[in-house]
Symmetry: C2
DNA sequence: GAGATACGCAACCTTAAAGTTGCATATTAT
DNA sequence: ATAATATGCAACTTTAAGGTTGCGTATCTC
């Protein structure tokens, strides 16, 4: 079989559950929000704004990293995190798919009732 | 202050984390997918397609119900579940917001580099 | 080189998620 | 009325999430 597919197709092929799970935590959403300005931040910087310990923040960043939502680059003694938006496309593609199926169902139902 | 707001504004006002958390499980995503054809199903029906016990499915349905993703109506001795797409809009609005912020950041960065 | 800074790793605690089993109760069908 | 069906409730187990603390190591700064 061919392995060629568009990014949209690729997005649909990836299991979205782990991505949603990573997004399903307030602390992690907050970290993402702060990183979504495109700037890069160290763990200590990110932990400074929260009431959590650095280790807790590190764990959350690890969860985000495992699904590709952030990326880290070592820079001297600090590791700098950046937002990676690709998994968001996977999540959006999934939601769009469910919503589309839902809308189709409503249309068919309406057509059925009116015929 | 006014409490008037559009559905889009309302969507942004709701904490999306619990919705994402509810979506962050394969079994629940599968339940949602099967319900997103708009048809109504009993717990036993939904549990029949899985390798889980009825009770496990009941718990998952409860999680989905708690964030408004499904709705149940008692009908005789069975309770029938229906998909409710509104929370999906909340999730989509949130993802769109983050993605937009991200795109803005890239634009500003580009402008900064080129100036 | 010495001290401060930034991090990684590992152990540990607490709580909740996911799932099971057993039993009670309400409905439907015969 | 009885038997079968569909569900609800509660107790219990297992495992993982979220968080902390302590300590070791690499890296800047002076």
């Amino acid at each position: 079989m061919s392995t060629l597919m568009s990014t949209a197709e690729a997005a649909r092929a990836i299991d979205p559950a782990p991505i949603f799970a990573a997004l399903g935590d307030r602390t992690r959403l907050s970290l993402l929000m702060r990183l979504s300005d495109g700037r890069t931040r160290s763990i200590t910087m990110l932990a400074g704004d929260t009431d959590l310990t650095r280790q807790a923040v590190t764990k959350h960043l690890r969860v985000l990293q495992d699904v590709g939502l952030v990326e880290s680059v070592r820079h001297g003694r600090e590791s700098r995190f950046t937002c990676r938006p690709e998994p968001l496309d996977v999540a959006r593609a999934y939601l769009d798919g469910v919503a589309a199926q839902w809308d189709d169902a409503l249309l068919r139902l309406k057509a059925f009732v009116e015929e």
